[in-house]
Symmetry: C2
Subunit: 356 residues, 2 copies
DNA sequence: TTGTAAGCGTTATCAA
DNA sequence: TTGATAACGCTTACAA
């Protein structure tokens, strides 16, 4: 009983046993043997739009299923030079606020057969080290929601890895970005508040290194100046809940009383400020003091807060970022593009806005 | 002026030009040529603990830096069968709550030179499709915070990919997991409430498919039974803010009044319930009605809420999950281990707890 | 439509 | 310590 037809002697169990014994992975070779075709035929079956006959395709797919075969992404990426991997680089604290941005990015990329490698910077300064790891993984592109220097952006370009900045920009380089116009948002907020009669503005700022905080602060200051109103009292904050209460205390200390309105650098601080004003200081908000935020986070719309704020269209922005990056990766995306979104005013109930 | 010593004729600029022209990546070969050593010498320089002379190492590293060389992870993983990639599989809604779990996992893995590929399930049912993508990427392990069937867990085992379940478990299989004892937490909550005199319990449940919701519900029901108190009125919820208000309304409708306490399936619903009770129904909490949650999210400790809840040690749990998975991947981790954490009681101010 | 064979960029083995 | 050389598992001309 010799094997006159060796390929037929290989049953599913045979092949599986061999693989087990050699403790290796199931390869397209194994599938080819089982299906009685060449290895390249197997490869073609897994490439959309390749030329394979219906019969071959069926046999190969059956064999692949029998063996639990899945193409090896590493081997594929080695030859195609496409990893179908996208780096998402976020700075530590950011990831809290951006969790649904991450979900949306994940969904959008996954629809296009791409997946996210997450690079979570412990601190903004860890970028250099992180980039070294990014290069290793041969990502097809990157969404960057963290501080990137011009030189670092240049290195992406040199390596031909397209990037899309998320709510960040780069003064000295043309680079694709999706941003929300923070200065415009701040100006719009001031305009509404001023129109409703607010005159004495105070502001709880975000961390000094945050460009978003800077832009919001600048927008507030400039618009006030244009309107001929006094410059705002600005106190420091860190974008977290505790900063809101601390900021309020600082403002009261410095002013010896409350201003007409406290414009907070983000919603989280506004909520902290609001809670402290009402419960620690027994201040009537909005009766005696108006409090506003930026972002439009979920908690801002909770009944207890009903915060007056400017909402960033984060979902749309995430969608756009994914779309742009996919365009750049596949080469259909043209040149550097910058998409700017506007925040929308959310009336809320923490500011005296007068008859609407 | 002929090139009598060809290898010396290759300057950095020469090599870079060649690479540019052939539009390929910088390889260890290029570095080898520039450094005047063999390709395998270069490879060894990038392998920690390999045997290389100091002089060779220095020359190679200099050349690598000159050319911006980084080892190609795909090629490496092909031969080593280690991708240094870990899949983190989470179900859509979960990712909101778990954003700092994700941060912690990312930090822990990154310290060990591993990175996270994110798989965000749009719905719990998309697991099959997702797994197919997981196999392709040859991940070294996976943290699963989503519904996994016994068969699916078995497939991980067959492929020798270690997994750690996060706040999930599997009845019919031995599998590593990090969990918080939800039933115990629920029982502890009921015990405290009962001791303080609460008798009529109502509960806003989580979504039916959530094991966490089931365990919390069971804990509440069983402990009440043990204490000889009436079974709770249970209404449906979906773990979101709006469910809290809806649940409260349902309870009031069904009861024609308020119970002594509403035990909510999580903090988000408790906050919604609390807001609605105070602002829609003008109910004194905790004076006339106690409201409690589970989880210990950031908002629970905000002044406006100061929620009575059971806090899960998510940070420690994430740390443990990463540690366990790294152990399993590197083979030092022993067998299936299950680490169970206890939630801690947070007194808060939304329940009448009597003299502490 | 199919099979053959040459890479892709590493690591691992084994002499030297 | 070093350098040839053989994998790793795939895609892609090219020839049949």
């Amino acid at each position: 009983m010799t094997n006159s037809t060796p390929q037929l002697s290989h049953t599913i169990a045979d092949i599986k046993a061999i693989i087990q014994r050699e403790s290796r992975r199931v390869t397209s070779y194994d599938v080819a043997i089982l299906a009685g075709v060449s290895q390249s035929a197997v490869s073609r079956c897994f490439k959309p739009g390749a030329s394979v006959s219906k019969a071959t395709y069926a046999r190969v797919m059956q064999a692949a299923q029998d063996l639990d075969y899945t193409p090896n992404a590493a081997a594929r990426s080695l030859i195609t030079r496409r990893s179908n991997l996208v780096a998402v680089i976020v700075a530590g604290a950011v990831s809290q606020h951006y969790s649904d941005v991450l979900s949306e990015l994940s969904r959008q990329f996954s629809v296009r057969g791409m997946h996210i490698i997450l690079f979570n910077l412990p601190s903004e300064s860890a970028m250099e080290r992180t980039l070294a790891e990014v290069w290793q993984h041969q990502v097809d592109g990157a969404v960057v929601a963290a501080r990137l220097s011009g030189e670092q952006a240049a290195e992406f370009e040199r390596r031909r890895i397209p990037i899309v900045l998320f709510n960040r920009s780069l003064a000295d380089r043309a680079v694709s970005a999706v941003v929300c116009n923070q200065e415009e948002a701040a100006r719009a907020m001031v305009t509404r508040l001023a129109a409703a009669g607010h005159q004495r503005f105070a502001m709880i700022d975000g961390p000094g290194h945050s460009p978003i905080a800077q832009q919001r602060k600048r927008g507030v200051a400039r618009r006030l100046e244009e309107l001929g109103l006094p410059a705002p009292l600005v106190v420091a904050g860190a974008f977290d809940y505790a900063s809101g209460a601390r900021g309020l205390r600082d403002i009261i200390d410095r002013l010896g009383g409350v201003p007409d309105v406290i414009v907070c650098g983000n919603d989280l601080m506004a909520i902290g400020c609001l809670d402290s004003a009402r419960h620690d200081f027994n201040i009537d908000v909005p009766g005696r003091l108006s409090v506003t935020g930026f972002d439009g986070i979920a908690a801002a719309s909770w009944i207890s807060y009903n915060l007056t704020t400017m909402r960033q269209p984060l979902h749309s922005m995430a969608h756009a970022a994914a779309e742009m990056l996919v365009g750049l990766v596949s080469g259909t995306g043209g040149a550097h593009e910058r998409r700017t979104y506007s925040a929308t005013f959310v009336g809320g109930g923490t500011a005296r806005l007068g008859p609407a």
